[in-house]
């Protein structure tokens, strides 16, 4: 009995002795439900970087704990509490849906735990609500960030009248809103806005209502919706060109798509077809390991792990505490897989935005013809405020179903 107690105490003493050189990361991603595969992409990205570093960030042994947030905000909160309070993680990473991001951010404030938003794109987290969340930093994108440039691109490439079809929730509103704002500021007109619910499987009721005199249809699709819409548009015989928000054509859905999406244009901070040595290497390694092309979900989490590593290098593997960690992280300037990344003073990345066109071709020496998001134009160093300037941008309300108002509808 005594010996048992002694060993227990010894083990305890040892574990506290080394804890300074341990980094516990709690990772939240959906592992069950309709978003489970996206969650897998997220985890794979992070895990791949960890494996490359053999689980060691500058001397700190990384403990990586994955929890299933089921794509439901209250579950995300519960699991975040578990990670922070039972596992005592130093930081939370992940959260897929914008709504989950909005839900976990207050937990990070309450429990004084770092929360790295590696996917959740809800605009206001790094905009109007930022002051409430001192322990968050975003490594991915804000919903409207890539779609301001896309709006400008669409306008400059001859589209004058556009109909938007977007999933009816905050993310959809923000993506479509960003597009509309930049598009109309450059002289284009959004003539109709349609909002099918998130997860719509049949667009039959919506497609006939799309105005036929539009030059293009702008879509915000998420997950399985993205597959269905272009197919049904083709079946309905509508030839209006399609352009889309980043998630309408990301590499998560692209391999499941057919020729109906050829020529469709979208925008995001990453494309698997980005022809740089860094990305070529990343795609090759990722594909070898997981048997599929990396999506932005994977790249973003890979890069997030890399950023955390960079901070730990500065502190020589010691956990600097949440305030110093956030400060160090936002000072990083990084050559990431997606291109150069730095942070603005509201802790959102400034990065390249790629306008991409779906093409069928061979890339990186792979043998088969496949669909790739070929980059056709790069807008360098795009911030979440686009060209509007921080103060002017923050004066307007967050993009919603009714903002910007549809001036040219009817």
């Amino acid at each position: 009995m005594n010996r048992k107690v002694f060993t227990a105490i010894a083990a305890l003493a040892l574990s506290t002795g080394t804890s300074a050189q341990e980094l516990k990361i709690g990772f939240l991603a959906p592992m069950t439900g309709i978003f489970a595969q996206i969650g897998k992409d997220m985890e794979n990205g992070f895990q791949m970087y960890l494996d490359e570093q053999k689980g060691n960030f500058a001397g700190a042994k990384v403990t990586f704990i994955v929890e299933d947030e089921e794509g439901k905000p209250p579950v995300g909160v519960r699991k975040a509490e578990k990670l922070a309070r039972q596992d005592n993680v130093q930081m939370l990473v992940g959260g897929l849906l914008a709504s989950t991001g909005y839900a976990i951010a207050p937990v990070s404030t309450r429990l004084k735990t770092v929360y790295v938003l590696s996917i959740a794109a809800a605009d206001d987290l790094t905009q109007r609500d930022l002051k409430e969340y001192p322990y968050i930093v975003r490594t991915s994108w804000s919903s409207s960030q890539p779609h301001h440039p896309l709006g400008k691109w669409a306008c400059e490439n001859g589209y004058k009248r556009v109909v938007t079809v977007g999933a009816d929730y905050a993310f959809g509103h923000e993506v479509a809103g960003g597009f509309q704002k930049a598009f109309e500021d450059c002289g284009g007109r959004v003539i109709q806005k349609i909002w099918p619910p998130l997860g719509t499987k049949d667009f039959g009721p919506y497609i006939p209502t799309i105005k036929r005199d539009a030059d293009a249809v702008f879509t915000v699709m998420v997950g399985p919706m993205a597959l269905q819409f272009p197919k049904q548009m083709q079946e309905a015989g509508i030839k209006t060109p399609l352009i889309g928000g980043g998630t309408s054509y990301d590499e998560f859905v692209l391999p499941s798509m057919g020729d109906e999406v050829l020529g469709h244009v979208s925008a995001l901070q990453y494309s698997a077809a980005l022809d740089t040595p860094k990305n070529r290497e990343f795609v090759r390694k990722y594909r070898e390991k997981y048997g599929k092309v990396p999506s932005y979900y994977s790249e973003s989490n890979y890069t997030t792990a890399q950023m955390i590593h960079e901070v730990m290098k500065q502190t020589k593997g010691r956990w600097p505490g949440p305030e110093k960690f956030i400060a160090a992280m936002t000072q990083l300037k990084l050559e990431a897989v997606r291109g150069p990344v730095r942070f603005d003073d509201m802790r959102n990345p400034i990065q390249n935005i790629y306008i991409k066109k779906v093409e069928k071709k061979r890339m990186f020496g792979y043998e088969k013809d496949e669909l790739w998001n070929t980059v056709i134009q790069t807008y360098p160093d795009v911030s979440q405020f686009w060209t509007y300037g921080k103060d002017a941008f923050l004066k307007q309300p967050v993009y919603s179903r009714d903002f910007p108002p549809c001036k040219y509808c009817n």
Binding site: M31, P73, K82, S99
Partner: protein, 309 residues
């Protein structure tokens, strides 16, 4: 009476041990108790009246959204007026049930199941689409729990004791109800409604009142639920939430009240605790459901032969 003593004994032991439990375990215990209240309200319908409700999350949702909206938009309910919100939450749950009951009580069996499902989804639709009020898909983030009379509910242990008190109060209220002549008439309706009608009972009214009371307790649980999670989201109101509660009752044993708590305990433990330990928790939960239905038709409570309620 014996079973009540056991239940109180178990709750007492849990209350004594709670200060020594980890913070996450306390949160889970509070979850179990709040879901236990909802499960008891479903049990009143399913176990005593024979009405399988598949929309109980709607009343939880009404109570929760009311709490969140009052707290974030009007600053109401963060001090002594917390008790006012409790009353309002129960009233809102009851009022919603009173309205839905007009449609639902006409049906029975599978049709009742379908109607309550549809009505529950109406509440979900409102929560999801009425952006200006409910925050849509984002839901509503609360800014901290109430504090009054030197009690800070932000402390999870304090909050747990409050939830425990509400659970015990709800249990006794519902226990009184089902032991009363009114409760006996509900059991009569469950066993054979036609005979009750011939005996001169207005069975529609009895069922309607039971439905409204169940709604009130759903609303009460909703108020606690909102403060427990610190967020109210449409997924709280979604169909799976209602299904879960119904399964908890079936698992624990319908017609026992306490069974709901046991069912809630098993489900929450398996889903939220086991899930953090092993990735195949869903198989365990599924197996438990199947085995219960195959071998324990009267639920886990059926193992303790305490006679019929």
């Amino acid at each position: 009476m014996n079973r009540i003593a056991i239940l109180l004994g178990v709750l007492g032991i849990v209350a004594l041990l709670a200060p020594f439990a980890g913070p996450f375990v306390i949160l889970l215990l509070a979850h179990i108790l709040v879901l236990g209240i909802v499960a008891m309200s479903v049990d009143l319908l399913l176990g005593y009246t024979g009405l399988p409700s598949l929309g109980q999350a709607a009343y939880l949702g009404v109570g929760a959204y009311l709490t969140a909206i009052l707290a974030t938009k009007f600053g109401v309910g963060l001090g002594w007026d917390f008790w006012l919100v409790i009353a309002l939450g129960m009233a809102a749950g009851a009022a919603t049930a009173a309205f839905f009951g007009l449609f639902a009580i006409r049906a029975s069996g599978v049709y009742f199941l379908m109607i309550t499902l549809a009505l529950g989804m109406c509440v979900w639709g409102l929560a999801y689409r009425w952006n200006s009020l409910t925050g849509g898909d984002n839901g509503i983030n609360m800014r901290g729990r109430p504090s009054f009379a030197g009690m800070r509910l932000a402390d999870d242990l304090t909050f747990f004791y409050l939830v425990l008190a509400f659970f015990i109060a709800s249990f006794f209220a519902l226990h009184l109800l089902v032991s009363s002549p009114f409760g006996k008439s509900l059991v009569g309706i469950r066993e054979r409604e036609l005979r009750m009608r011939i005996l001169g009972y207005n069975t529609w009214l009895h069922k309607y009142i039971a439905f409204v009371i169940a709604g009130a307790f759903g609303g009460l649980a909703g108020v606690l639920w909102a403060h427990l999670n610190g967020i109210v989201s449409p997924s709280d109101v979604l169909l799976p939430a209602s299904v879960d509660v119904l399964l908890m009752v079936v698992l624990g044993g319908p017609g026992t009240l306490a069974g709901g708590l046991i069912g809630a305990g098993v489900v929450v433990f398996l889903r939220d605790y086991l899930a953090t330990v092993v990735p195949w928790w869903q198989y365990v939960l599924g197996t438990v459901y199947v085995l219960t239905i195959l071998y324990m038709p009267s639920g886990i409570m059926g193992l303790f032969k305490g006679g019929k309620a």
